[in-house]
Symmetry: C2
Amino acid sequence: MSSELYDEKKAADIVVSSRIRLARNFENYNFAHVDRKTSGEEIVEKVYLAIVKGNRKYEEEFNLIRIESISEVDRLRYVEKHLISIMLSNNTKTGAFVLNTEETISIMINEEDHVRIQCIVPDLQLDKALASAYIIDDLIEKDMTYEFHEKFGYLSSCPTNIGTGLRASVMLHLPVLSNVGYIGGIKRVAGQIGLAVRGIYGEGTEAKGNLFQISNQITLGISEEETLKNLKNTVVQIIQKESALRDKLLLEKKDEVEDNVFRALGILKNARIITTNEAMKLISSLKLGIALNLIQDISLEEVDLLISSIQVGYLHKHFKENLVEKERDIKRAEIIRGQVNRRRK
Amino acid sequence: MSSELYDEKKAADIVVSSRIRLARNFENYNFAHVDRKTSGEEIVEKVYLAIVKGNRKYEEEFNLIRIESISEVDRLRYVEKHLISIMLSNNTKTGAFVLNTEETISIMINEEDHVRIQCIVPDLQLDKALASAYIIDDLIEKDMTYEFHEKFGYLSSCPTNIGTGLRASVMLHLPVLSNVGYIGGIKRVAGQIGLAVRGIYGEGTEAKGNLFQISNQITLGISEEETLKNLKNTVVQIIQKESALRDKLLLEKKDEVEDNVFRALGILKNARIITTNEAMKLISSLKLGIALNLIQDISLEEVDLLISSIQVGYLHKHFKENLVEKERDIKRAEIIRGQVNRRRK
């Protein structure tokens, strides 16, 4: 596999985004401080100031958002956009996050760790995401002292994060691998080299819309560079496999693929009631159709935005809180029709 | 039910067509003559001449078609259009039919009976269809002598046709009655008063696309007028029931109906491979959507034409004989897309 030419265009059709997360904890605040109002709040203030103070640009770009100050709907919405974790969204006592206006960098404060710096970038750009995270990391370290052990590295409340504190992950759209039943095999192989394959909302969630997140599991005894290299190698292999299977599919079952893609488009354009699960399935077919050039007037970026807009939190935020399930399914169908039927130049 | 107002517009949305068939046999030719080349051919000639001779208009309008002279595909095509029976299409020895250019009148010769005069008209117009059949009946009787018994009426090779030789039937589109499981009950009630409820290709065929044919089963001891009156009464009741259920559905489950109708439209507009069964099911939803005014730019007449164009015979005739199943499913999807996506004024 690895000897095959790596096709940038095809890779871009398969990779949705790359994400870096650095877990950090401070000296002089034990791990339980995230639960104590006074010291927890002290961490929030200090971290925020470390990032923005004396930097006009950052002061404008980064906002401090306290969990307790936002509505439940907004919390859910940030979770859906992968900007905060469910755990942070539940910490209404001391939980907070610093978010840039672009929504590519989120510094979670008082989550499982004192600080979790997270950067999301489109495509396979782990190095770029890590570089962004390091900038924030350095800003914080300039003012505060991280709990760091000469031998082990960064210390953490959860042993799985000790060492680099780095979690790197890549989100991939793998409809064909998934359809032919290869994901199980990939999970096993990935597991053997310390990588995990999960659905898009992290641990314990099923893969919706054939979107998978591949991430490193080991942070101890391995450098950041090695971590990224290992992950990238595996991701590239998975991309090549998915890509080869897509080519094979187009060659051998063009009619069936077209049928599947256009039926999905037809239903998305016309349905009046649709669940998240069904929508995600159909959108997966749509993404495949765009990648295979069967559909040309909708872009993958538009579809990825659409995925975000059909989640429960979005619907509650943009329509009305506490919509019952059927109302949500109707609104979801409305949003999808609006997006997919939109006239494009 | 019968006290409810009969809504012509709603009835027209439910009734597809009315059909009359008169079975007639001739003196001096016993029933087996349909199988004997010489006398069978004599009947063909005489019937055709009886209809057209001395009548310029009819000579232009009516064509004699011998089963042996047309291809298998053409035979199937006439069967699909309900213009001849499967039995006639199989009589390659003496089978023939006289068909008008409008394809509303077909006189089958040497079917189970020497002659079967058939008239199809749109909507619920049994009297009109019977009047047309009588014109042909009189023309034939002017030249030839029917086997007629003072007490029993017209004689026939099959005892079920003895008497009036009349089979009157109405084709109805009953998606809602069918969906709520009422067809079984209707069949039983209809059976008790001598009516049969069948799928669109007559005896022994399942109802495709929720299209049902209601017809009289009794021809002995009942006049033509009574036969039509009985049938009409029952049909009107069924129409009222279907119509009432449609109103109820729109009132109580508008979203679900719209969802079903527009999904069907979306699939019909986009599918690349489709079986007859699935297409008939979706077209049934489309017809309901048009009747309920949810879809306005396609007419029921167009949809009924579409039903005819997705049958196997049509596909073989217009593309290539002996298409394999998958090729047919692809061509069928192509025809449907062409029709349903056609820009209308």
